[in-house]
């Protein structure tokens, strides 16, 4: 009874919110049912109302490029970056640029990587780093991998540095933070393609453009994590630093940043993941290497070989991630005074020796210098056979599934979405907003989708909405049970999360071809590809949410005589729900990204238009389409955040 009493004030507000929401739901329903009676303007916005956002963007863009001459600034910056890119490119694959000493033989690089790995964290990391490069060389991917790496080795540190600097600035200045925050929100939900067009104009094509687009995409999470980390440093640690008489700079360098290390490392990890995620996408504007090769191979339906490249990308991601973590955790080794130079620099000497020997050997045995495609091993044949077998086996099922889904689910759904009057959709979204967060949320929902309606891309946006909604629904059906299963024991959780990580790093493009082969060029293939991607965060957050439920609550349930099932449904799931909803939120974000990429299968939504805008270098159109997608993501993000925050508070989870 006491609980009722304490809940009372909450539920009064809640009830009035729900009543308003019900009214709006009713209104939306009426609007939909009375479609025939509605004036045309309420079904679709009349042409005259559509605002020429694209023209405005183009005008601003042209002004910045021509009148402000920003293009000279960006190009000068890009040329500076290009100098660094040329150095790594020369060293790694012998591009004809200063310092003209490359290409370094693969055996030397592999040994260098192994020694760096050893110096950072011992034998295991040495093995991982060394063997990654051996794999690349032996699979005959050396040239491409080095092309990719030559860009990442510049882009990733630049991103980390930029993120640190901007994160620190944002932490110091509330005003800067206020400007930055909405920008980051949009940047993180804007599809990759929207960035590419401006980059082509402002930077040009080639590795530098690839590097810059990669940097643009990987900086936001770094900024956020730096800011978060700095804000979380305990006051006493800072005071201790002040009392140790650290200058402000020393305080930042020795106290704040290192103490924020955990968050910053998450940021670095995200940078690396984003860099490798961009490997394929950036090849659209001239980033050389694995991504470009992967696309070429996929165009020719060479699944096995593109899989090999996918494995390489995952290996590189894991290796770079582990190395950067180990580096950040590394403690300086203390040598007694008077330790001989040779002992203090033992590893350096070993490295110099190994380099000289291997370089020398590689002049005699060219195989140690580079392994050509002809001498290389390949797993492609067995992989292709396996893939063929899978497709042949699944074919009868997928044929039926394809027919069933298209005729009975997808087409009715899509037609339904397209049939709905704009006004009904907007009122419905307001109802959802009101139910979740009251008037403010309702207005936010209205603003986001109202802008989409005003942009004139309503129908295509609805197709995107339908694809994403259905995909997330299916992903929930898959991810939720898997997550519950995975949360049962530490070992399972670890395994499942490892698979999730791998799936997420694996280039999304590789999923596209198998789903086309299974389902053909249609929406089923699109949904299939999106689901593969969207299920990952759902699984991850379900596991984390369920495992994060405090032991005391579970023990209390056990002592109340609840069965395992009862505990799950009455205790664990309700408590984990806020976290799981964050997973749903991420799942929507991932789906939005993937649905745009799925344009390569063939879609009729915003993604297809975006591809078109990319080809015609139409900045304004690309931005409008990108923002339309971003707004969908931001709306869901807002709703889920508001809901989860309230729910957490109600559950006393802080």
């Amino acid at each position: 009874m006491t609980t009722v009493a304490t809940d009372a004030p909450v539920s009064v507000a809640g009830q009035s919110r729900l009543r308003m929401a019900q009214v709006l739901f009713g209104a939306a329903l009426c609007l939909a049912l009375a479609k025939g009676l509605l004036p045309d303007a309420m079904i679709r916005l009349p042409e005259a109302w559509v605002l020429p956002f694209a023209d405005w963007f183009n005008a601003v863009f042209n002004f910045m490029r021509d009148d402000l001459g920003l293009v000279h600034v960006t190009r000068a910056f890009a040329d500076g970056l290009d100098w660094f890119l040329d150095v790594t490119a020369n060293l790694l694959y012998g591009k004809n640029r200063w310092p003209r000493i490359g290409p370094i033989p693969w055996s030397v690089i592999a040994v260098t990587a192994a020694i760096v790995g050893y110096a950072l964290n011992g034998w295991r990391l040495a093995a991982l780093s060394g063997l990654t490069f051996v794999w690349i060389a032996v699979m005959g991917q050396w040239q491409w991998a080095m092309e990719t790496l030559s860009v990442i080795l510049i882009a990733a540190p630049v991103s980390v540095l930029l993120g640190l600097v901007m994160g620190t600035l944002a932490w110091r200045s509330a005003r800067f933070r206020a400007v930055l925050n909405p920008l980051l929100n949009v940047a993180q939900s804007l599809p990759h393609f929207a960035y590419m067009i401006p980059v082509v104009v402002f930077v040009g094509v080639g590795p530098k453009a690839g590097a810059i687009v990669t940097i643009i995409f990987s900086v936001p999470p770094m900024i956020r994590m730096t800011l978060l980390g700095l804000q979380k440093v305990p006051t006493e640690v800072i005071e201790a630093g002040q009392m140790a008489a650290a200058t402000p700079w020393q305080l930042l360098r020795h106290v704040r940043l290192p103490t924020a290390r955990t968050e910053i490392l998450v940021g670095v990890n995200q940078v690396i993941m984003q860099c490798l995620a961009m490997v394929v996408l950036a090849s659209f504007i001239g980033m050389p290497g694995l991504g470009q090769k992967l696309l070429q191979l996929l165009q020719a339906l060479k699944i096995g070989r593109s899989f090999e490249i996918g494995i390489t990308i995952v290996l590189l991601a894991v290796m770079l991630d582990r190395c950067s973590k180990a580096w950040a955790m590394k403690q300086p080794v203390h040598m007694e005074k008077g330790t001989p130079w040779a002992v203090r620099h033992r590893l350096l000497l070993i490295w110099v020796f190994a380099t000289v020997v291997l370089w020398g050997l590689s002049l005699i045995f060219p195989l140690l210098h580079e392994i050509g495609r002809r001498e290389a091993l390949s797993l492609a044949d067995p992989l292709d056979v396996a893939m063929d077998w899978i497709i042949a086996t699944l074919d009868p099922v997928t044929q039926w599934l394809r027919w069933f889904l298209i005729v009975w689910v997808l087409i009715p759904l899509r037609d339904g979405m397209l049939w709905l009057p704009v006004s009904a959709v907007l009122v419905f979204l307001m109802a959802v907003g009101w139910a979740v967060g009251g008037r403010r949320s309702a207005l936010i929902c209205l603003a986001y989708f109202g802008l989409i309606a005003l942009s004139g891309w309503w129908d295509r946006a609805m197709i995107t909405v339908y694809t994403v909604t259905f995909s997330v629904f299916i992903a929930t059906l898959i991810g939720f049970p898997l997550g519950i299963w995975g949360s049962r024991s530490d070992r399972r959780a670890k395994t499942v999360l490892l698979v999730c990580d791998t799936l997420q790093t694996f280039p999304s493009f590789i999923y596209l071809i198998p789903v086309i082969m299974l389902f053909g060029v249609n929406d089923v293939a699109v949904v299939g590809a999106v689901v593969l991607f969207a299920a990952v965060p759902l699984i991850r957050y379900t596991i984390e949410g369920l495992r994060g439920v405090p032991d005391a609550q579970i023990e209390a349930a056990d002592m109340s005589g609840a069965t395992r099932k009862q505990t799950l449904w009455s205790v664990r799931l309700p408590l984990a729900l806020p976290t799981i909803m964050v997973g749903v939120n991420q799942s929507v974000m991932f789906s939005l990204f993937m649905v745009i990429i799925a344009a390569f299968i063939g879609t009729q939504d915003l993604g297809q238009e975006m591809q078109r805008a990319l080809s015609s270098s139409d900045v304004g159109k690309g931005m409008v389409l990108g923002l339309a997608v971003a707004f969908m993501g931001l709306m869901v993000d807002h709703l889920v955040t508001v809901w989860a925050t309230r729910r957490r508070k109600a559950l006393g989870l802080g």
Partner: protein, 343 residues
């Protein structure tokens, strides 16, 4: 104590939190009540505090949480800038120091220990302790040698390569103490250093702390909300409430003669016999005839309990530190302290 210039001297110190504290303070009646200030949207964390701390003295600042004691000590170390009044440390008005001078002062004079330790999680014990030395640019070998010295001093020898997370709470606080001592400060601030620890460990750390203090003889400002701890350690106690100092005095005087009802309430539950020393309770000799052995004036009444109960004299001589009689103890008064006033 009065013959020397105080090491730290606070004069009408105010620390106000709020939108425009300086302007508000300027127009404020100094006698304004805590509630009145709060009603104006300001928080007077430190309210018109004046006190002096002598060289070598241990001042314990006590109060409930929110009473302003941590803020006051942060004003003394200028981790916070004060809103009004002045604080002098060794004759310098610290509010007027430039950043450079402040850093120099901290590098050479001040050490501080924190309630939740404030250790740098990414540094080993040794590197944490050496941190202040590193900040002042000491060479690596010298600072490691010095850090090892203090680590040995706090009894953590052998654990210098551990990370804070690998140590127990008590051990972590020893690191904190070692760090604050590394630069050999003259002034030592301790902000509730033992309150995050288990009672047993706390006791042990207090003993350890007394041992160190005896050895080092520093000027100490010690914050606690635990009266027992204050009584064990303090030369003088300042009791704070709502940002103001209610009373500042020797422990037995606080117990015997509370200045305000708040202090009285605060000390109500205290077993006075354990606090009050024979010397403090002793009256002037004034021609009283004293016979027999003198009791040790530095003992508390509770330590003298058995003796007092069994002694047949009604007035007992009290001996000072040098053995000479310094006063006369009325046995009945002592027994009242021991068993409570007869109703």
């Amino acid at each position: 104590m009065t013959d020397q210039k105080p090491v730290i001297s606070c004069r009408n110190v105010w620390k106000m939190f709020g939108p425009q504290p300086e302007a508000y303070l300027a127009g404020l009646d100094p006698a304004a009540s805590f509630e009145a200030i709060r009603a104006d949207g300001y928080v007077p964390a430190v309210r018109n505090v004046s006190l002096d701390i002598a060289k070598g003295e241990m001042l314990v600042i006590m109060g409930l949480s929110g009473s302003g004691k941590s803020t006051l000590v942060r004003c003394m170390s200028r981790l916070l800038d004060i809103t009004g009044g002045a604080i002098e440390v060794e004759g310098h008005v610290i509010g007027d120091l430039s950043e450079r001078q402040l850093i120099d002062l901290r590098r050479n004079k001040m050490g501080m220990v924190f309630q939740s330790f404030g250790l740098l999680p990414h540094r080993t014990v040794l590197d944490n302790v050496a941190f202040p030395l590193e900040m002042r640019g000491q060479d690596i070998h010298a600072r490691r040698a010095r850090a090892m010295e203090v680590i040995e001093l706090v009894g953590l020898g052998g654990r210098e390569d551990y990370f804070p997370r690998e140590l127990s709470g008590g051990q972590q606080q020893r690191v904190g103490i070692a760090r604050s001592l590394a630069i050999e400060p003259d002034i030592w601030f301790l902000d509730e250093p033992f309150s995050a620890l288990d009672p047993l460990i706390r006791r042990e750390m207090q003993d350890e702390f007394l041992r160190l203090q005896e050895m080092l003889g520093k000027t100490i400002v010690f914050i606690t909300h635990d009266f027992d701890e204050a009584l064990r350690l303090a030369d003088r106690i300042a009791i704070m409430k709502d940002g103001a100092v209610e009373q500042i005095d020797r422990p037995d005087r606080i117990v015997m003669e509370p200045a305000t009802p708040y202090v009285a309430k605060f000390t109500e539950e205290i077993e006075k016999a354990r606090v009050v020393h024979a010397s403090a309770l002793a009256g002037p000799v004034n021609g009283l005839s004293l016979s027999g052995d003198a009791v040790d004036g530095s003992k508390t009444i509770s330590q003298l309990a058995r003796l007092l109960v069994n002694d047949e004299r009604s007035i007992l001589p009290v001996a000072g530190p040098d053995g000479g009689v310094i006063g006369a103890l009325d046995k009945q008064r002592a027994l009242d302290v021991l068993f409570g006033e007869a109703q």
